[in-house]
């Protein structure tokens, strides 16, 4: 089974969710800027990598955990991947695609805009991380739901 956490760029909310899933970030961690910046793939996925599945790790139940940048097309990509899995006879290779677009807020949007469009990386990162902290409980609940789902290996 493949779990894909997806957000616009694939390298912010998706990375935090994947890190929570894999235990790289603890539930009760203080979410310091330094801790978030050191998560694997955080902030380093480029425009040309959008749409690529990037493996972050394998969880203790054998599920491969990926991140993907899907812009605002998460739902379409989810339907596509499930459709292709069925066509290629991989129903057992279930895809759990978690579109995190609903976890975005004003600060995450502003932060990514500052980083990617204005080139203000440091200031943008501070705003973005503030936004991630604001969405953290929603992210955590989503990840807990995924962790509690049955795993088809």
């Amino acid at each position: 089974m493949k779990v894909i956490y997806s957000c616009y760029w694939g390298s912010y909310l998706a990375v935090v969710a994947a890190s929570l899933h894999l235990g790289l970030l603890k539930w009760d961690d203080g979410l310091s800027k330094e801790k978030i910046l050191n998560l694997p793939f955080f902030g380093i996925i480029k425009k040309e990598d959008l749409g690529e599945m990037i493996l972050v790790g394998t969880d203790n139940r054998g599920r491969e955990v990926y991140v993907m940048g899907s812009k605002k097309s998460g739902r379409i990509i989810e339907r596509s991947l499930n459709g292709f899995a069925q066509i290629y006879g991989m129903e057992k290779q279930k895809v759990d695609f978690i579109d995190l677009i609903n976890c975005n807020n004003f600060y995450t949007s502003l932060g990514t805009f500052m980083i990617h469009k204005l080139g203000f990386r440091n200031a943008g990162m501070t705003v973005l991380i503030w936004g991630i902290k604001k969405s953290f409980s929603r992210l955590r609940n989503l990840v807990i739901k995924v962790l509690n789902e049955p795993a088809y290996l």
């Binding site: 493996l55 379409i76 066509i87 290629y88």
Partner: protein, 157 residues
């Protein structure tokens, strides 16, 4: 082999291209409006189905023909599909993705928007057909090119 004709919403151009490919529409004359309306999925795919691939049939070389919608993010969606298949260990050498949207004109785009997005089927559907009829020879050429590519991959002359 699997061939996927893709367009914006898998309701018009991909349906027409796949239908020509499968002989459900003629390649040697202009089909009537009725022939378009009777095609499976023609102007019927809803927004919540965009992205889902639909099986249309099997061609004379045994290839399975599908249609799918990718909205305006065709490069992104295609990349995600290839990345997924690669990560699942699928050999993609027998997979062809064909963009059917490049044969579409403004009439079909406006008609499609009116029918699928605004629900004005009575006005939108005839407009999509009119647009496709105007560009029909391009659809036939697209399918001929696709079949040529298909034969090359299958090493058939």
């Amino acid at each position: 082999m699997k061939i996927f004709y893709y367009c914006y919403g898998s309701a018009h151009s991909s349906v027409v291209a796949a239908s020509i490919h499968l002989g459900m529409l003629p390649a040697d004359r202009l089909p009537s409006a009725e022939e378009f309306k009777n095609l499976p999925h023609y102007d019927k795919t809803d927004s919540y189905e965009i992205g889902k691939p639909f099986f249309m049939g099997i061609d004379e070389y045994g290839a399975e023909i599908f249609i799918t919608g990718m909205t305006g993010e065709r490069q992104l969606v295609k990349k995600a599909i290839y990345s997924f298949l690669k990560n699942c260990g699928v050999d993609v050498t027998d997979l062809m993705m064909v963009n059917a949207l490049k044969s579409v004109n403004l009439k079909t785009k406006i008609g499609g928007f009116m029918s699928r997005r605004m629900g004005l089927v009575m006005i939108g559907r005839p407009l999509t057909i009119k647009g496709i009829q105007e560009k029909y020879t391009e659809f036939v050429k697209l399918v001929e090119n696709t079949k040529r590519g298909e034969r090359n991959r299958l090493n058939k002359t």
